[in-house]
């Protein structure tokens, strides 16, 4: 067996390299060197992104345990960019006195979750998949409970790890049943061996709920708002965007690649889940006063919309899904960026605190507005296009009713997004949030997001480029 083939796993290896370097640097760097920790990290990570942003031909490693497909490069790059933005936004937070020492572990944890997602994405085998899943979620728990002197953080951490493991144990139980019924955990073999016997269906359900949990679809979403609220805002944004993005991609891959024969089972499941996720999440969102919870529910309903792309199970659906994730990364991170900087400086997260924000911080509120419009799917911002393509993908397979319900829900979602905009622009306030001078990395991240929101939709090249590798499996 030729171990050199392992060198093909470029993304993973380079990321591991970055992690190890940072770890060593963090430990051994001298006082005056250490203050360059973050810039160096940014640079390294940027290099890592650039190195791995070019798709290669598909290949397999370790007898199909690790399967690569060009499409994965796109989704991984998207996740990378998202991570970079999150790190930029977290820059200020990590420069605080109490966090200075913990910088290293923060980066290490983030990168290891990212690594887990890589493995999850390009796994060709349930074992690797499961390892990836856990690698992605266990450090995440540590991140959620990152600032350990906050009750909320600790509570959120506990809720997250316990329910996460609960979910993953259920799904690993499902995997075991699949294994029992088929005798293999390799996706390529399973595709034919899974024939839809009752046991397999049972097993599939057990397994799938683990992913539904990660995507936080109703009714497996209950942890989401609490954890989002409790965690530090940058972590929340990471949680809401990156891990969710990877999970939906994986779900799509598995459904088509492994459970293709069960399509008659999983399409109705997703149909129902999409409907109740969008609706319930919207109905919860309109009442939220805390913006982090608010965005949590909004992200749940966004997940519901993503399901519309998955349910089609076609190449066009795949493309739309990746595109949706891309847009969602920029929109959501823009919103969270504004949120984080304001919470960082003033500790205000309530909707009412945002009253009259436009008078004092026009730029921030402008970015926030763009982000919310994009999330609501308003042209000419990117969100409109991604939503449209997702709907088109679903209608293409004849899910007219589903799309109709989803569209009716866009009205509700528009309503609550407008509530925030109303607070920022319309409502006057005696004590508006004072002017905030944001630091350069944050500015940079927000600029990137704004550019993304404004331009991704208008430049069709991106979508077409993704579409080239039509069916990324």
């Amino acid at each position: 067996m030729d171990y050199s083939s392992f060198l093909q796993m470029r993304e993973e290896l380079s990321l591991i390299g970055v992690m190890i370097f940072l770890l060593i640097f963090d430990i051994f760097a001298s006082k005056n060197l250490i203050k360059y920790f973050q810039p160096i990290a940014f640079v390294l990570f940027a290099v890592h992104i650039i190195l791995n942003c070019v798709p290669r031909d598909a290949f397999e490693v370790a007898g199909g345990m690790f399967q690569y497909h060009p499409m994965q490069t796109y989704i991984k790059t998207i996740l990378n960019v998202g991570t970079l933005i999150v790190l930029l936004q977290a820059h200020k937070f990590l420069n605080n006195e109490e966090n200075k020492i913990k910088r290293g572990e923060f980066y290490f944890l983030i990168f290891s979750t990212l690594l887990g997602m890589y493995l999850m994405i390009s796994s060709g085998n349930f074992l690797l998949f499961f390892i990836g899943l856990e690698t992605a979620s266990i450090p995440m728990a540590a991140l959620v409970a990152f600032d350990k002197y906050k009750n909320n953080a600790a509570e959120a951490g506990a809720k997250y790890i316990l329910s996460a493991v609960f979910a993953s144990s259920i799904s690993v139980f499902g995997i075991s049943l699949i294994y029992g019924s088929t005798g293999t955990v390799y996706f390529s073999d399973l595709a034919t061996l899974i024939t839809g016997t009752p046991l397999q269906i049972m097993a599939f359900v057990f397994f799938a709920v683990g992913l539904f949990f990660k995507i936080s679809l109703v009714p497996f979403h209950l942890w989401t708002p609490d954890v989002y609220e409790g965690a530090q805002t940058n972590i929340t944004s990471y949680l809401s965007v990156i891990s969710k993005g990877s999970a939906v991609f994986v779900l799509f891959t598995l459904l088509v690649k492994v459970f293709g024969n069960l399509i008659d089972q999983w399409q109705p499941i997703l149909w129902g889940l999409a409907v109740i996720s969008i609706t319930i999440a919207n109905i919860f969102a309109i009442r939220q006063k805390n913006l982090k919870r608010f965005l949590a529910f909004s992200s749940i309903s966004q997940a519901g919309y993503i399901i519309l792309a998955i349910i089609s199970g076609t190449a066009i659906g795949m493309t739309s899904l990746v595109y949706y994730v891309l847009v969602y990364v920029f929109s959501n991170l823009a919103a969270f960026g504004v949120l984080s900087v304001i919470e960082e400086r003033t500790g205000k997260v309530a909707l009412d605190d945002y009253n009259g924000l436009y008078q004092t911080n026009p730029r921030l509120s402008f970015v926030m507005m763009l982000a919310l419009f994009s999330l609501a799917g308003i042209p000419p911002f990117a969100g409109f296009f991604s939503k449209f393509f997702v709907f088109a993908a679903a209608i293409d397979q004849g899910f007219y009713v589903l799309v109709f319900i989803a569209l009716l829900n866009t009205i509700i979602s528009l309503y609550y997004y407008l509530l925030v905009i109303k607070a920022m622009f319309l409502t006057k306030s005696e004590t508006p949030i004072e002017l905030i001078k944001s630091d350069f990395p944050l500015k940079l991240s927000l600029v990137i997001c704004t550019m993304g929101i404004m331009l991704i939709g208008l430049f069709s090249a991106i979508y077409n480029q993704i579409a080239v590798f039509g069916f990324g499996i």
């Binding site: 856990e134 266990i138 450090p139 600790a154 509570e155 790890i161 139980f173 995997i175 955990v185």
Partner: protein, 113 residues
């Protein structure tokens, strides 16, 4: 049934027995997760669930597909992962104890609605 007993006494344990055990363990774990008040007990219940899955893997591998070892490896990795998450979970629980002076799951409801 009788044949099961006869097998039992004749030494070779039928697969169903293992599966039964694992199923019982699994739902015992679920039950514990849902009912226990202490975070630690909940953690242990999760361990039960994971181990149930492990037993499944091993059993299936041993009885149905003895020629390949995927099940065994899966079990090994699962055990390792279970260890990791227990570690993290314990850490968080300690943290909670430091903040709240209790590990009652009922106290974890600062954030709701």
């Amino acid at each position: 049934m009788s044949e099961l007993f006869s097998n039992f006494f004749s030494g070779s344990i039928p697969m169903e027995a293992y599966l039964g055990i694992s199923l019982i363990m699994f739902f015992a774990g679920v039950y514990g997760f849902l009912t226990r008040k202490s975070l630690l007990m909940i953690l242990i219940s999760i361990e039960l669930m994971l181990n149930a899955a492990d037993i499944n893997f091993v059993t299936f591998n041993r009885y149905l597909y003895p020629e390949r070892l995927e099940g065994f490896y899966f079990t090994l990795f699962t055990i390792a992962i279970a260890a990791c998450e227990t570690a993290v979970a314990i850490a968080i629980i300690i943290n909670i104890y430091r903040n709240l002076n209790s590990v009652e799951v009922g106290n974890l409801d600062q954030m709701k609605e």
